[in-house]
Symmetry: C2
Subunit: 281 residues, 2 copies
């Protein structure tokens, strides 16, 4: 149905409490990219918060295919949200909530041309701390997004350039955790660095893909702590998610990095990623 006709009850716990999980899947040429990986993560999110997924992997992939076909979409983003549904009463206790709500929505997402990509985006280190594990399992991609939303608002207010901006969140020890909607990578002395997957981060599907590509290209890789203070000294910076793919960061905290040029490791990974995309569709 047209997105503007799709509704959920006001009693839906996704609306009342952010009591939901979701995935955002990239599609190229009408085909979902890394769909099985997204299903796997959704299943893990569901298990962690105690929502019984009402579909298996093949049904999930079919939903993606059918939604793309019904909308005549080739290059697109599909968001699949699964909320805990409505309970007997609008109270936080989820007892008696056994009918999850599933919403899949698609929108066109043209592939970036080379000129746009190579301009990169801005990033701002924000005074919003990443959510500690002890509060909420950060590997759950949940509908509790408010702190990241406010992080983005802060980042946009402190960037100096045009176009997209990402917020970079640090953990309680001042180490880089993640972007508001991405994972963060930096290159120092030829080594690709990214925060370890067991930190207070959501280790993205694109993050893993990029690490695999880096290793296959024999680029030295280190998954470990990065001080927020060291970010500005990086030779190259980029962020990843399924929509941005490998996206250069060419401004940090309002300062243009390396004359705004994209570094060689970022470019190699971008090209390898594009090959993978081309091979998929």
């Amino acid at each position: 149905m047209p997105a503007e006709q799709a509704v959920v009850p006001v009693s839906d716990r996704g609306f009342l409490y952010g009591d939901s999980i979701f995935e955002t899947v990239r599609a190229y040429g009408g085909k979902a990219f890394a769909g099985a990986d997204h299903y796997q993560r959704l299943a893990e999110s569901a298990k962690s918060v105690g929502i019984a997924l009402p579909f298996g992997k093949s049904a999930f992939l079919t939903i993606l295919d059918e939604l793309l076909a019904a909308n005549d979409l080739l290059d697109a983003m599909v968001r699949v949200t699964v909320s805990r549904g409505s309970g007997p009463a609008p109270v936080p206790d989820p007892s008696g909530c056994h009918s999850p709500t599933v919403v899949a929505m698609a929108r066109p997402a043209p592939r970036l041309d080379e000129a746009t990509w190579s301009r990169g985006i801005g990033a701002v280190v924000v005074p919003v701390q990443s959510t500690p594990k002890a509060v909420l399992n950060p590997t759950v991609k949940s509908g509790n997004f408010l702190s990241h939303i406010l992080a983005i608002v802060h980042a946009k207010a402190h960037d100096t350039g045009e176009g997209a901006v990402e917020a970079i969140l640090l953990d309680s020890k001042g180490r880089v955790a993640e972007g508001a909607v991405s994972n963060v990578f930096g290159v120092w002395n030829g080594t690709l660095n990214t925060p370890a997957a067991d930190g207070d981060i959501l280790p993205g599907i694109t993050r893993k893909l990029v690490l695999d590509l880096a290793r296959s290209l024999s680029i030295p890789v280190r998954e470990g702590a990065i001080s927020g203070l060291d970010l500005g000294d990086a030779d190259e910076l980029f962020v990843t998610n399924s929509g941005w793919e490998v996206m250069p960061v060419t401004r940090l905290n309002g300062v243009v990095l390396a004359d705004g040029r994209v570094g060689p490791i970022t470019r190699r990974l971008h090209e390898a990623y594009q090959k993978k995309v081309m091979a998929s569709c």
Copy 2:
């Protein structure tokens, strides 16, 4: 309209991201209790997250009155949710979202009889940490409720009795922060203790009312740190929110406290609160 016909678009950011704020207001005899205080807090939540409230105090109070009247409700709970509405695209960046969604929903909530009240409820200290200020302003009553929901699930699984259970969250230093849906009070040696309002807590409207009542009754009051380890030694424990009012905690971590009897300070505050309720309607 009937609650089951009330819907929001799937693109509503309340549903997609928990990008919303809310208040839960108690009504007695068809009149909202402490309605102006709830408006004040809602306005502060709205300011903190950057949602422009589409109504002022008198309109808010009118919404409550009219909803109660339209539903022929005397003793009731009203939840007013204000989400950031739908944006131009379903992405976390809230730019271009200028039409908040307002949903007010009411349900009957009979007043507790004395026998039910004096049985109290169970409480369980859970391994879910309260959200640090650096992550999200805890005084914002927002639609990001997932960690508290999981706290309740844990508490229910670890209680031994019948009836309601509250989860008690500690902060990163092991100090009592708050209940999942309440504020926590304990009595030691005749002094009423509750975590200070500037901790990682949402200082409730009922909490403030109860502190005011305690002071007017010349009960010694201390707002300050309470170690989670000391809770079991309290002479009396209770929790407060607009629905539970002053609710005795008669089981902690599955162990019955003081033979399940309600302590004298809890009872005095309960009686004073009831007088206030009676005077309001």
